[in-house]
């Protein structure tokens, strides 16, 4: 070390400060030779470029809507404030909330730090939420569903289906939207086309369910009662969720929905998952 009192921890701390701030001064005492200190920027630029690239992959519709340059500026500011908090860029921008540390998701960041932009493009958080839910559904465990054969076997051994601890599969993601924008999002996400005309969206609270089926992500718009049922099922049981849905729609038909969910491989048996 340049100074015999400097420890390896001092070096890591100095370099860490540089990576956060771009200020090279703390690292200078550790450099040797005649190479310009400006070359340190290779490391910081590489980190920021990789992190922005991850945000671009995880929220692919945003650069199409905002333009790559503007998106890059927003993403760089997010990286500066919320560096990746896991040693992988898979899922970067989705936020982390562990016992030890929490980071803002990119959606929260836009809402909290860029209210002016969200005011100008009020559908941005919804678009982000759809991007995030789609990718999370794709990368989730898609093998935990209760099959028709398993249900038949349970019935055959005298199980009361209503009493079973049923839940939505791990890959399921519910997205509550303010605008009717599934069509716009699908166009952006899968044809990567910029809308040809000005975007006119209708304010309309609606909920989309994403889940993985045979390795592909499925999307289903939910009616109001179905949405209440699915949301309730996340923290209660089947009976309570059905009661909540019936309060919204007195014609809510649980048996029909149950058959739909089973056919779509959307149900799992919670106890089986926990004990496995």
């Amino acid at each position: 070390m340049a100074n015999s009192e400097n420890t390896h921890a001092d070096y890591i701390n100095a370099f860490t400060q540089f990576m956060h701030s771009g200020n090279q001064n703390d690292v200078l005492p550790f450099l040797d030779g005649s190479r310009p200190a400006a070359f340190l920027s290779v490391y910081r630029n590489g980190y920021i470029k990789a992190s922005i690239g991850a945000l671009q992959s995880n929220f692919p519709c945003l650069p199409i809507l905002l333009g790559e340059e503007f998106f890059g500026q927003l993403a760089a500011a997010y990286v500066q404030e919320n560096p990746p908090a896991a040693a992988t860029l898979v899922g970067y921008g989705f936020g982390l909330d562990s016992d030890e540390y929490a980071t803002l998701s990119f959606i929260e960041y836009l809402n909290q730090r860029h209210a002016d932009i969200v005011k100008q493009y009020p559908y941005l958080p919804d678009i982000c939420a759809l991007d995030q839910a789609w990718l999370q559904a794709l990368n989730a465990n898609g093998e935990d569903f209760l099959s028709l054969e398993q249900v038949q076997a349970l019935i055959a051994q005298g199980e009361d289906l209503g009493a079973l601890p049923l839940a939505l599969v791990d890959s399921s993601r519910l997205v509550s939207l303010q605008y009717d924008l599934m069509e716009l999002w699908s166009t952006l996400r899968f044809s990567e086309q910029t809308p040809s005309s000005a975007i006119e969206l209708k304010l309309n609270d609606n909920t989309i369910l994403f889940w993985q089926l045979d390795g592909r992500v499925q999307a289903r718009p939910l009616n109001a009662a179905e949405a209440v049922f699915m949301q309730s099922l996340q923290h209660t049981n089947f009976d309570q969720a059905a009661t909540a849905a019936a309060e919204i729609d007195e014609n809510f038909d649980l048996s029909s929905l149950f058959a739909d969910l089973l056919n779509a491989q959307l149900l799992q048996l919670k106890a089986a998952v926990e004990s496995s």
């Binding site: 550790f30 030779g33 908090a85």
Partner: protein, 308 residues
């Protein structure tokens, strides 16, 4: 060195020939290679390497493809987030979580090789998504060895560590080859020699690649990487960047030949992480490396006959 982990020995290696690092856009073509692979020498011994952290998912097509690939080809895991050189006595939740995820993948897929870097990337709660340099000091060496030990203990086997690309010099007590060989001696790990990194370190900082290669113990070298680089736009005469975004440069091919002459034939992996071309283009580059390995083996066999 951890007593329970057998040290790396290239003589026990199950991997031969040249491989390619696998990208999602090439999954199907890679799998079809298993069906169509001609039984000629140039096409034999294909293997694939993936970045371990790209498979930190709970399920879905990415893991399904990896499973299918692993059933047909030798598979190697190359970690980029282990941050071996910033190990602390009290690892953060980030580090602990990372190692648990690596361990689960290694247990599930049992890759033929597991490798990481002699660098760092995690500090406090931040992952800097870049291979950051270590000064070659006694303290940094001890820290790196702790990181390697911790990694090897977690996954229950020895790993390879990769030499870095140097863009500047840091105040150091020893040269890089000695630093790495000492780390291998203390931990039982092997070396992943990145010939592109070696070439860039030569061009950027004046490192002598021949002296470097001669200082390595051949039996500790388990894999070689080759890749393309970029010329920095702001400092075109002074700075080459390890980008993995271009075909392998002729100078790197030449250094690969020299490396094989000095260290013997080792599994060679073609890396490409940006500006990804058609799979066939990567395979053509990979086949060039395979030819070098086959020629080297032929020459060695011929020499052995002459030597009696």
């Amino acid at each position: 060195m951890t007593n329970q982990i057998p040290p790396f020995d290239s003589g026990q290696q199950r991997l031969f020939g040249a491989g390619v690092n696998l990208k999602p856009q090439h999954y199907d073509e890679a799998l079809s290679l298993a069906d169509t692979q001609a039984q000629t020498s140039i096409d034999s011994d294909v293997w694939f390497e993936v970045h371990t952290e790209n498979y930190f998912v709970d399920g879905g097509p990415r893991l399904r493809y990896l499973q299918a690939i692993s059933e047909r080809f030798p598979l190697s895991f190359h970690g980029v987030g282990g941050s071996l050189g910033s190990y602390t006595d009290k690892p953060s939740a980030l580090t602990t979580r990372h190692l648990a995820q690596v361990t689960a993948l290694v247990k599930r897929f049992n890759p033929v090789l597991v490798s990481e870097h002699a660098t760092w990337s995690v500090s406090q709660h931040a992952y800097f998504a870049e291979l950051l340099p270590l000064p070659r000091t006694e303290q940094a060496l001890a820290c790196l060895c702790e990181g390697i030990d911790r990694y090897q203990e977690a996954i229950g086997r020895s790993i390879l560590i990769e030499n870095p690309t140097n863009y500047l010099d840091f105040v150091s007590d020893m040269d890089e080859a000695d630093f790495l060989m000492e780390a291998l001696k203390r931990t039982g790990a092997g070396l992943l020699l990145d010939v592109n990194n070696l070439y860039l370190s030569q061009q950027n900082t004046g490192l002598d690649p021949i002296a470097y290669l001669n200082a390595l113990a051949s039996e500790k070298v388990g894999e070689i990487h080759i890749a393309g680089f970029d010329v920095d736009q702001n400092y075109p005469d002074e700075l080459l960047i390890d980008s993995h975004a271009a075909p392998v440069d002729e100078a790197v091919w030449s250094l690969l030949e020299t490396t094989i002459k000095i260290l013997g034939a080792k599994p060679v992996l073609l890396e490409r992480d940006d500006n990804i071309p058609q799979f066939s283009e990567l395979m053509n580059e990979r086949n060039r490396a395979q030819s070098l390995l086959l020629n080297s083996t032929k020459i060695n066999k011929r020499q052995a006959v002459i030597n009696g």
